[in-house]
Subunit: 265 residues, 2 copies
DNA sequence: CGTATGATTGAACGCCGTCAATAAGAGTGG
DNA sequence: CCACTCTTATTGACGGCGTTCAATCATACG
């Protein structure tokens, strides 16, 4: 049901033919071979689907469904058998680990066109849920795993994504283990600023973006409490490093000053 | 020079023929095809070399050197071009991130027969250094990367190792962000106990092992100070959860009690 | 014996967590 | 439109956990 809606999503102009030529990275010779569902999908070039030939795309797309998920909906349930994998088409997904006593830690934020899932493992060790409203493209586990065996390029892309995530996880370990609360909050803002494409204010060189996470999530991502996050945000505000509108929109007049506040490595 | 020494290392009994048959996982049909250097090497079966056929092993081993590195020697220098990859044959390697002001965080501990390196990236973002005396088997970057392209099994093993490391990194993020100092130290001891094969005391069901890290390293791994680590260790000692001999040897009479002290997820 | 390194322990400080009150929206129903 | 509730965020006061600074001890090495 939602499949039909997204297939003609006005946001992406999904069915508009010729859109591919504008991408420039890879021109499809026989455009008619590319499934309707996949045309103008950014996961197809920048994401893992770039590792598939038209025939494989066809086969994959036969089992594929695009979904719109609202904030806080689970994409992957913890300790459950893995049945599907997904690509994120838009929005932000948070991966969360939960302790029996209720403490929790967000171990990763993922953005479009990231691949979502943990191949070669029966069940997941964390939950993945939509931090914002998201659009995803899902396909059955087995179909993808079969394709890995026949397409080295696909396997390679998955491998590179996991290496990228490993680099990011280790970067964040430094933040969690060795940075102060003030530096943590600044690092979070800098992370978001560099992963969301923010509105650029050409006049002043500043940027503006909406926080994809509420305070409680930011705290769980930084290993802090809500109160400390809030206090550090107002501290950054009073130091004129950021401005905040409507509790959600952040304006950074000078990105270098924000970066300096991270005590960057 | 050290190559010749390790080739006949009495510890591994490297050249003793027929040792392979005892492994059981994979019987080499033409044992004479397996390079001398690789026989009875555990990285060949459990490590990434298990993804290579005899011919590829031959080619790789022509560029391979086994080294013994002493504690604190760097295996991978940060911000330097990557020229070689390695397998850990014995000992423990620590991956460290350093901040300009001197703060540092150990982002991973690696054990035999782990693969060491970051494929597909020009330079490393962290340093890798021997936490204990180690033995490694090193080979040039290009040789391995060429083999990835021709052996899907090798690529697959590298991918699985990176997924394993990603899982471990995210587990540790929970420890760094949400556990108390006492829980962190207990978690560290538990991690070592499950990654080193410890001496098992069959009478009492306890275990005994040597800490591969000194207090300063433990602190850098846990995001704490040396003093806090020391205090928490004596607290665990006074709670009869562990005993410590010679500052290095740890005895855990009851592993379940240690696990409980981690507030395990 | 003197020095260097690593580890433990104590005392005092301070950052961040806890508890609590307040405020601002958003949604619901009268 | 207002009254009410629920969620989210901010701010203050206080206390505790972990850091900082410092002294002491053990072991290894020249």
């Amino acid at each position: 049901m939602s499949t039909d809606r997204t297939r003609t999503d006005p946001l992406t102009g999904a069915v508009r033919s010729g859109a591919d030529a504008q991408d420039g990275r890879r021109l499809d010779i026989h455009n008619s071979d590319i499934p309707l569902l996949c045309r103008a999908c950014e996961a197809r070039h920048k994401g893992i689907c770039g590792g598939l030939d038209p025939d494989q795309l066809q086969r994959l797309s036969r089992h594929t469904h695009k979904h719109v998920l609202r904030e806080n909906v689970e994409v992957i349930a913890p300790q459950q058998p893995v049945t599907t994998y997904s690509n994120i088409l838009s929005g932000v997904v948070k991966l969360t680990k939960l302790m029996p006593d209720g403490r929790q830690q967000i171990v990763s934020l993922q953005f479009a066109p990231d691949f979502l899932g943990r191949p070669f493992k029966a069940s997941n060790e964390y939950s993945a849920e939509a931090a914002t409203d998201i659009r995803v493209c899902s396909f059955p586990r087995k179909v993808l795993e079969d394709m890995i065996d026949e397409s080295p390029d696909l396997g390679r892309r998955l491998y590179e994504q996991s290496l990228k995530e490993l680099d990011e996880a280790r970067d964040w370990m430094l933040t969690l283990g060795r940075r102060t609360a003030a530096e943590k909050v600044a690092s979070f803002l800098y992370l978001i600023a560099t992963h969301i494409d923010p509105e650029v204010d050409l006049v002043h060189g500043g940027i503006r973006f909406d926080l994809p996470l509420k305070r409680a999530d930011i705290a769980d991502f930084l290993g802090l409490t809500i109160e400390t996050v809030s206090r550090q945000l107002t501290k950054l505000r009073k130091a004129n490093i950021i401005e905040i509108e409507m509790n959600r929109t952040v304006i950074v007049p000078n990105v270098e000053r924000l970066k300096a506040a991270c005590a960057a490595s």
